[in-house]
Symmetry: C2
Subunit: 147 residues, 2 copies
């Protein structure tokens, strides 16, 4: 569904959002530890998000990543996914045709309309804020416990 890069991006964003709500800036090292992702690879992903101002980064000691409090509830899952994986998931043709559309559809185009709409709606309506608060109250998790 999503690329690994996008998975890390989503997880990291949620974690950064939560910390930002609590007034904390977090380092890459801590993020990688908390979402259980490869550090350097995660850095590249965060860089992408920083470049389009979804997150803010600062160098130096006590540096790290944060998200402006007033942005947390306007940043949608769609923004993050789009920044990393592009729009192919919810716009692209399921069979890979780039000329597929309602008037000249591939065999499964019509079948997919509902799925795509449902996905798109979800991504557009889910804010980082909701996701972060679910995590805050312990309803959800970002890291699998070792077995």
């Amino acid at each position: 569904m999503f690329s690994k890069a996008c998975e890390y991006g989503i997880k990291a964003s949620i974690y950064i959002a939560l910390q930002s709500i609590q007034g904390e800036r977090v380092s890459l090292k801590k993020i990688a530890r908390e979402i259980n992702s490869p550090e350097a690879f995660t850095a590249k992903v965060l860089l992408q998000l920083a470049k389009i101002d979804i997150i803010k980064s600062s160098k130096g000691p006590s540096g790290g990543f944060e998200i402006s409090k007033d942005k947390i509830d306007t940043i949608m899952l769609a923004d993050i996914v789009f920044a990393i994986d592009g729009n192919s998931i919810y716009e692209g043709c399921a069979l890979g045709f780039d000329t597929c559309n309602a008037t000249k559809p591939c065999p499964i185009h019509d079948k997919f309309v509902n799925v795509r709409e449902e996905l798109k709606k979800m991504l557009l309506n889910t804010s980082l804020y909701e996701l972060a608060t679910g995590l805050e109250v312990g309803l959800t998790f970002l890291k699998q416990r070792k077995s």
Copy 2:
């Protein structure tokens, strides 16, 4: 969404189904030409489908691939996707956790329920027969026209 292998598998299956409805067996070469896919790679995919009896293959001159007429309307998109990509698309966690479920959900689990259900329903309810007939009457296409 789907892997390339799966895309080719779906396209090929639809094409074979259509030809089988019309009583024709088709060669790999023709399939690859008609769905515009790499021949050898497509062969591997078809082999996977043949091994679980979704399609039938025969060697030798006048050999090729076909699907039993009486199976065409009971083979669902889900069968093909499952054979090639496994069930991760509609069963797996969107963030890649393998312990994610309703009682211990990842942050986007609940958000994804509808999408996954919609996808699953669609894959389970779409038969090769419908897809093949849509193609037969020229409503849909399997190969992009060159520009």
